[in-house]
């Protein structure tokens, strides 16, 4: 078992609690940067897909896991980020400005939508945000002049100061681009968590009454969470557009929203790790299933609904047996090894929670 011997407040504030953790994440980062030299182009493309999903997952995690506001409308924000980026570049804005701006635009749109929508709670909020997903499709068709409507759009090749990046012909360059965005988003997320705003998010999630009494402005905090969440999601959307190579009104459907929410639940709500673990499941499962199916029943046979069915089953299993997600399971396994042989079975058992103040209005 590792003992943290703290000698300064800085030890609690810094990114990594100890040298060992620093080494582990350093090694992970080094592996990530060396990956294009280690694996083939197909698998590099798959890893890129995982990272893009992870960015989108971080976006939703900030809102749902951290601030406790469920959203089934995040596909709409993926779409806004994707279209904003593509349209800006078509207007001659260089990628290095258009891409960050696409996220900021998505964030502002999110903030505007948040003002009315976040007056709702729980299931009603989820229903209202479903409407966003459904509306996005129609709006894209209606604004055909800019969005290309049903026939869709093809993002142009990325050029950063003359340096060209393209998903199909140069997968490793595209991979590095996605990796850098992932690292930046993760750092933003982590920085927010260790500063007053991140704590205000958790306060709003756990008790709005006492958050108010401590001086947290509920609506403003939720709005910030929604805006930031949408900003990160917008970036993921822009990258998804490049990854897919083409997109139209049907690319960012309600199914994507549901998959996103499912992803963070499976990964583990309220943790950065959860977004990444969930992304691995969501991005690799269809591939794994198709490989498995080919080997078991032969490649010619199609099984309709196989993917959806397996996803649903996995989600049900997690909610029933491991509500803390893959990250929660990982924590349990790690604790078991760290404390070996002293880990007890009930260590992670949920404690009873005490009575909450009745609704005040």
């Amino acid at each position: 078992m590792r003992i943290h011997f703290k000698t300064s407040y800085h030890h609690d504030i810094r990114l990594f609690p100890d040298r060992w953790t620093l080494c582990v994440y350093g090694a992970l980062l080094a592996l990530a940067f060396a990956l294009p030299y280690l694996i083939g182009e197909f698998y590099l493309g798959e890893v890129t897909n995982v990272l893009i999903w992870a960015i989108a997952g971080l976006g939703l995690m900030l809102l749902t896991g951290q601030t406790g506001q469920a959203s089934l409308g995040h596909a709409a924000f993926l779409a806004i980020g994707c279209y904003a980026n593509t349209i800006l570049i078509e207007q001659g804005v260089p990628f290095i400005i258009a891409f960050p701006l696409a996220g900021v635009i998505t964030g502002f749109v999110g903030l505007l939508i948040a003002i009315p929508v976040l007056r709702l709670h729980g299931i009603y909020l989820a229903i209202a945000t479903i409407a966003l997903s459904v509306l996005a499709d129609d709006i894209i068709v209606l604004t055909e002049h800019w969005s290309g409507g049903v026939s869709g759009k093809f993002p142009e090749m990325i050029t950063i100061f003359g340096f060209e990046i393209e998903r199909w012909s140069m997968p490793s360059r595209f991979y590095y681009l996605v990796l850098v965005v992932t690292i930046i988003c993760t750092l933003f997320y982590r920085n927010l968590l260790r500063s007053p705003l991140g704590r205000a998010f958790a306060a709003v999630r756990d008790s709005e009454v006492s958050a108010t009494a401590m001086g947290v402005h509920i609506a403003r905090t939720k709005g910030k969470a929604f805006g930031l969440s949408c900003m990160i999601t917008g970036w993921a959307g822009a990258l998804m557009g490049y990854y897919a190579g083409t997109f139209n009104n049907e690319t960012f459907s309600l199914v994507i929203s549901i998959t996103l929410l499912m992803m963070i639940v499976i990964g583990g709500l309220g943790s950065i790790h959860g977004a990444f673990f969930g992304a691995v499941v969501v991005a690799f499962l269809p591939q794994a299933l198709s490989i498995l199916k080919d080997n078991v029943v032969g490649s010619g046979v199609a099984i309709p609904g196989l993917e959806t069915g397996v996803f649903g089953l996995i989600l049900i299993m997690f909610i029933l047996f491991e509500p803390m997600g893959i990250y929660g399971r990982w924590l349990k396994i790690r604790t078991w090894f760290e404390l070996f042989p002293f880990a007890r079975k009930d260590m992670f058992r949920r404690q009873k929670s005490y009575l909450k103040t009745e609704r005040l209005r």
């Binding site: 800085h10 920085n191 007053p196 401590m214 949920r350 909450k356 209005r361």
Partner: protein, 255 residues
């Protein structure tokens, strides 16, 4: 002038008059207790001061500021912190994080600075941490610093909630039943802490409490409420001897 002045406050829920033409004032540096049978309007009076409820009538003045002009989240900025009758902590956060939320009104950094975690944010974090550590030392919370609230026993949660209110360095502390559900020893600790909060920290305390031992032990003045109206006011001994109070608690003819 008094620190907190409430004049003719009235609040009705439908036909029920929860607080009826209530006036009282809390002086700077005193411990002021509100007692009364269940449903007397004690917690409602607290929620009026915290601006969770909008009064029908009455004036609320804190240190010269009209409280009615403030929203519920701006009350903390004036220097009023509170605890809740049923503990309202942030369950999925550690004790330290809970106490740091108490520092929310002292934050100076903006969203953009926090996203990049600039050196200023780091300095501010250290400053917040220092203030929180003072509270942890004061309340002997060291063993629980990095524990999740969800796993803590009731008595400790009660203390953490008091700590969170103290971390905001308030001028007026509202304690809603600080000793409810505590054991005899824990109540004794609470009594010393309330004494020290007033004497060492110079914080004015307004509390609702049923435990008359605690009330008469720490408070300078007591207000007895019944059916939302003032029954008696004075030193603990005076209020306890007041026939109207005895009647409200025990019924007529009990003396």
């Amino acid at each position: 002038m008094s620190l907190l002045e409430i004049n003719n406050a009235t609040l009705k829920f439908g036909g029920v008059v929860a607080v009826n033409d209530l006036s009282f004032s809390v002086e700077e540096g005193e411990v002021y207790a509100i007692v009364g049978p269940n449903g007397a309007g004690k917690s409602t009076a607290f929620n009026l001061i915290s601006r969770f409820y909008e009064p029908f009538a009455g004036t609320f003045t804190f240190d010269g500021n009209n409280l009615l002009e403030r929203d519920a989240d701006q009350v903390a900025d004036l220097g009023i912190a509170r605890t809740f009758q049923n503990i309202e902590l942030f369950e999925h956060a550690t004790v330290l994080q809970n106490l740091l939320v108490g520092r929310h009104r002292h934050r100076k950094t903006t969203l953009l600075e926090e996203m990049f975690f600039t050196p200023r944010v780091r300095r501010e974090e250290e400053r917040h941490r220092e203030a929180v550590e003072e509270v942890i030392d004061f309340l002997d919370l060291q063993p629980y610093r990095n524990k999740m609230i969800a796993g803590l026993p009731y008595g400790v949660r009660k203390v953490v909630e008091l700590g969170r209110a103290l971390a905001s360095k308030p001028r007026l502390l509202l304690l809603d039943e600080p000793a409810s559900g505590l054991s005899v020893e824990e109540t004794q600790d609470m009594r010393w802490w309330i004494d020290d909060i007033r004497k060492q920290m110079g914080i004015t305390v307004l509390m609702v409490e049923h435990d008359m031992g605690l009330v008469s032990g720490v408070s300078d003045r007591v207000l007895a409420l019944a059916d939302g109206a003032k029954l008696a006011e004075g030193t603990p001994a005076e209020v306890q001897a007041n026939p109207a109070v005895i009647e409200a608690y025990l019924g007529a003819g009990a003396v």
